[in-house]
């Protein structure tokens, strides 16, 4: 599958970008970013029907992805730049004064690819429903995707939104949960157990699909399956099993790299594990 191999090579570069951006800024969130690098790569380079070189804030006639867990901004910015929304060199300004690449995604700086500020958790699914409703009013057949963290599901607003989309059958919406079972203070099973997520979402009326978020083959297959379920009087929820820190051995199996930047030595070690495939910024 040459296409899959190409996506895997892009994901490797995006992982390098994440390490170099967070190391360069001396702050940021590498763990979750690495864990969902395969998913963001698949979305921006395969699944989304979009036009990165001519960014349309209203997204009319295009698919779009709302990243509600804004702290994974390194992987989002890299995927946006590498897919053509803005120059790759701009990644070096991440989290620095007067950058368009704010610590968490924002619209004030007019960064192409960003349509809503996120970072304060729990708000993106509601916004995604609003965009989905606008698409229905506009007879726009394109799809709204929303990405959330699993720790984010602690927020009450998420369940207001889950209630709405389930009850009102928002069937042009796909939500994806980064189910890495870790949050800042530790494993979700210790901080706030999520219990049976599949059963919870199904009880709210959603179609639920499970996916291995660190297998490019499975991401492509399952996201295509999600797409095929749209327009069927049900919102679609993808539980994406991932490993926080995936791709860098010492960043996996722990929640410690949620929001910590690597030092020089750690960054060099991480980069030695990730092939440079598209040229570093």
């Amino acid at each position: 599958m040459p296409e899959i191999n190409k996506l895997k090579r892009i994901a490797s570069q995006i992982r390098r970008d994440i390490i170099r951006m967070v190391h360069g800024a001396g702050s940021g969130h590498p763990g979750g970013s690495l864990g969902c690098a395969d998913f963001l790569t698949a979305m921006y380079f395969d699944i989304l029907d979009h036009n990165p070189s001519a960014f349309k804030p209203d997204a009319i006639g295009e698919d779009l992805l709302v990243v509600s867990n804004g702290h994974i901004s390194p992987v989002l910015y890299s995927a946006l730049a590498r897919s053509g929304y803005f120059p790759v060199e701009e990644l070096s300004t991440f989290r620095k004064l007067n950058s368009r690449l704010q610590g968490h995604p924002a619209t004030l700086e007019k960064l192409p690819g960003i349509r809503i500020a996120t970072g304060s958790l729990g708000q993106g699914l509601s916004v995604s429903i609003g965009i989905a409703l606008a698409k229905k009013l506009n007879s726009d057949p394109k799809t709204v995707y929303c990405f959330m963290g699993d720790g984010e599901l602690d927020e009450g607003q998420v369940w207001e939104a889950v209630t709405y989309a389930g009850a009102k059958k928002t069937d042009n919406l796909v939500a994806v949960v980064d189910y890495n079972k870790k949050q800042i203070d530790g494993p979700t099973d210790e901080v706030m157990p999520l219990l049976d997520l599949r059963a919870k979402f199904e009880a709210f009326g959603w179609k639920v699909i499970e996916m291995n978020g660190n297998s490019m083959e499975d991401v492509i297959a399952r996201m295509q399956e999600a797409k095929s379920c749209l327009g069927n009087q049900q919102a679609v929820m993808v539980l994406m099993h991932t490993e926080m820190g995936a791709g860098v051995d010492f960043m996996t199996g722990t929640h410690k790299w949620h929001g910590v930047a690597p030092n020089d030595e750690q960054a060099a070690n991480a980069l030695s594990q990730l092939e440079e495939t598209l040229g570093d910024f």
Partner: protein, 317 residues
């Protein structure tokens, strides 16, 4: 300058509801959302006439604010409706991040503001909302004074691009602004000319300020009454022009002293033209159950209190 007469007694929320229906007919971009208070917000007529453009979200105000923000991305002009407390304090971070910081064209329409919702008591009587909303960068804050002005303001905010907080109330109150009066966001209205004291009033207290002006005239005091319907952006030019003439100020609002209209005016004057300022506002207290007029009297917000404040302001000149 002709005297203002009571045209009829109407609730300001009906001015909102009637204008929303008009907007439904004239502006296909206008959509509305409500958190299970459609009747209280007078949004039924819009909901019945335009069911595809009305979204009942249930008692889930945070979700409502997010959905509204999303609707703007697709090009719509959402009007959200719930009580003022649930339009602000309950959803402050949703408004801050998804609407204000994201520069979304959402009209946050808030009924039952202040003490005059009456018997429901302090759980529902927000007196902090103007302060919270005016602190958000880019937010326009409007508190119209009667039915006609609320109707005009509702029509005006649909034409204004950017987030707006539109605050109105529950009880039937004097409707006195002529329906053909000019309404411009950010432009204060001089209702009475005077030379001894400037009374700057907003919302329901504008009528009380006009009553106070008559009482002051009987005492030989010439009071200027200016209706500040837009608290942010503040009409600095009109305020400074009046104060340069009168030399002292009374502010009147159905809101906490902290963070309200009075504070906005005091801040302006401290920087540009310091003069004595007396506040007619609630002083660091919560409200309570009661009849609207009883509450205004109890908390010191009625015409006699405005008259007393004018006397104090003039004495400090």
């Amino acid at each position: 300058m002709k005297e203002f007469k009571v045209i009829d007694y109407r609730d300001t929320r009906s001015g909102f509801g009637d204008a929303l229906l008009e907007l439904g007919k004239t502006n296909p971009g206008v959509v509305a959302l409500c958190a299970d208070l459609t009747g209280s917000l007078k949004m039924n007529a819009f909901a019945e006439a335009f069911p595809d453009r009305f979204f009942q979200v249930g008692i889930a105000e945070a979700n409502m604010m997010g959905i509204a923000a999303g609707l703007t991305i697709g090009g719509y002009i959402p009007f959200t409706g719930t009580f003022a407390n649930f339009s602000t304090a309950r959803v402050y971070d949703q408004i801050r991040q998804s609407i204000a910081y994201s520069e979304k064209n959402v009209k946050i329409c808030a009924s039952h503001a202040g003490l005059t919702l009456g018997e429901d008591g302090a759980s529902h009587q927000t007196l902090e909302d103007i302060g919270m909303m005016k602190m958000l960068p880019g937010m326009t804050v409007i508190n119209p004074c009667d039915y006609n002005q609320t109707r005009q303001a509702t029509l005006a905010v649909a034409e204004h691009h950017g987030p707006v907080y539109l605050r109105f109330g529950r009880p039937k109150v004097p409707n006195f602004i002529p329906s053909d009066f000019e309404f411009t966001i950010g432009k204060a209205l001089q209702l009475r000319q005077g030379s001894d004291v400037s009374i700057f009033a907003t919302g329901h207290l504008v009528w009380h300020a006009l009553e106070a002006q008559k009482m002051l005239t009987e005492k030989g005091i010439s009071a200027e009454v200016i209706n500040i319907h837009t608290i942010k952006p503040l009409d600095e030019e009109t305020i400074l022009e009046s104060v340069q003439k009168t030399g002292c100020v009374v502010t009147a609002e159905e809101h906490e002293k902290n963070g309200g209209l009075g504070d906005s005016i005091a801040q302006l004057l401290a920087e540009k033209y310091p003069v004595p300022v007396e506040y007619v506002a609630v002083d660091d207290r919560f409200g309570q159950s009661g009849k609207p007029d009883e509450l205004l009297g109890f908390y010191g917000l009625d015409a006699p209190n405005i008259v007393s404040a004018a006397g104090r302001a003039i004495a400090r000149k």
